[in-house]
Amino acid sequence: MKEVDARGLSCPEPLMLTAEALKGAAGPVKILVTEPHQMMNVEKFAKDKGKKPTSVQKDGYYEVVIE
């Protein structure tokens, strides 16, 4: 699975990296972010693109899998 580690990056970098990853991805994409609002932004972005995001809280960060 394609993975984007956007942990610790300032806005809007996590979203820019997500958009870039989704463009070239055939299967699911995993996005790692630090802040809760970044997780929500990534989820919303995925939904707007007609994809299904699933988020899990990990130790100090969030993992969003976009399918």
Partner: protein, 365 residues
């Protein structure tokens, strides 16, 4: 409570913040400065003796409330994250630059919107510069600009700025150590408790709605996303209604008492600087205070940069003067940007370009 999942809720958060600003203006804050982050940081720096401009010295409880409001709500909703390490000194410089640009224009992006809602055409002119500045920042982002990763730090690190502002509040209310203007904008303020509560409410709603003036324009240019601009629209509408209802809506350029000037080029370049630097720093002055409140030491460093920047502005004669009425002759004296301010503004823009195109994401990995 999630305020950021629909445009309606975001606009509602803007309305609440607009009501807070309107109440504070009605209770004594300077005309259409109601709630200006740059001005209030400058006033607080003056109260602490960092600069000696006697008319702008007052420890503004709004700034204290904003940081504490964001801190309390982020702890309560488990969004508090103590982070640091994303090019702190570059962020410090960006904080200084934001303040220099803001004081050349005479206001932060929040005050620009408040001035726009009061009919001040200078602010509309400056808005053009702000959009261009944000656009330049977006161009840099698209070319791979990044200040690198922040990392999780000890929880106490993120709580330092909230603790410091509590200290400022105690010193301001219980001692005579701080200076307080006897005349000018610094002498005009709402009662302390109203300012503090207003700041707390504003801070909490700004944290939950991710309110950001630079971010709202950035998201439109970068991703055609209109979420964040709905917060600003809510705030603008409330202030517009308030200004019209209370007779404060005056369309014009040279309006005495508004604390603004009509040097169009410098209004544009001042806000260009603020917009550019704010995108590089990841948020406008308000957003930096909120992020600092929710645990970002990097944003706290930017805030410290803004404090130092305001001292630099007044100690070295960079800040613009506002158009005013001469009390004796009753003549309108046009406000102006001093030569030092113009030179500093140009230097700031050059530094922004250097920062924007020498910090790449690839190198940060």
């Amino acid at each position: 409570m999630n305020l950021s999942d629909s445009k309606k809720k975001l606009a509602l958060a803007g309305v609440v913040c607009g009501i807070v600003a309107a109440c504070l203006a009605a209770l004594g804050n300077p005309a259409n400065m109601a709630f200006c982050i740059a001005c209030f940081i400058r006033d607080t720096a003056g109260a602490m003796g960092l600069h000696q401009a006697e008319v702008v010295q007052y420890a503004r409880p709004e700034i204290i409330g904003l940081v504490l409001g964001a801190f309390i709500i982020s702890v309560a909703t488990k969004e508090y994250r103590s982070t640091a390490g994303s090019s702190p000194m570059i962020r410090f410089v960006l904080g200084v630059i934001i303040m220099i640009g803001a004081l050349v224009f005479l206001g932060c992006p929040l005050r620009m919107v408040l001035r726009m809602s009061a009919g001040d055409l200078n602010a509309w002119v400056a808005f053009v510069g702000f959009i261009l500045g944000v656009g330049t920042g977006v161009f840099a982002l698209k070319n791979g600009f990044s200040l690198g990763r922040a990392h999780i730090t000890n929880k106490s690190s993120g709580a330092v700025l909230p603790a410091v502002v509590v200290g400022i509040l105690i010193l301001a209310t219980c001692t005579t150590l701080f200076k307080a203007s006897q005349a000018g904008p610094g002498s005009m303020h709402a009662p302390i408790i109203a300012s503090l509560v207003g700041g707390l409410v504003f801070g909490a709603f700004a944290q939950k709605s991710r309110m950001c003036f630079a971010g709202s324009i950035r998201d439109i240019i970068l991703m055609k996303n209109f979420d964040l601009i709905s917060v600003i629209a809510g705030l603008f509408v409330v202030m517009l209604v308030f200004n019209i209802a209370t007779g404060r809506f005056v369309v014009g350029f040279n309006t005495p008492g508004v604390i603004a000037h009509s040097e169009h080029l410098w209004n544009i370049l001042g806000m260009y600087t603020v917009g550019f630097a704010a995108v590089l720093a990841g948020g406008c002055p308000l957003r930096q205070l909120i992020l600092a409140g929710q645990g970002s030491s990097d944003s706290a460093v930017t805030v410290v940069g803004m404090f130092v920047g305001s001292a630099i502005c007044h100690n070295f004669g960079l800040a613009a003067s506002g158009t005013a009425l001469n009390p004796e002759t009753k003549e309108v004296v046009a406000g102006a940007v001093p030569v030092n301010g113009k030179v500093a503004c140009i230097i700031c823009i050059v530094i922004c370009f250097i920062i924007a195109f020498t910090n790449k994401r690839e190198e940060a990995k």
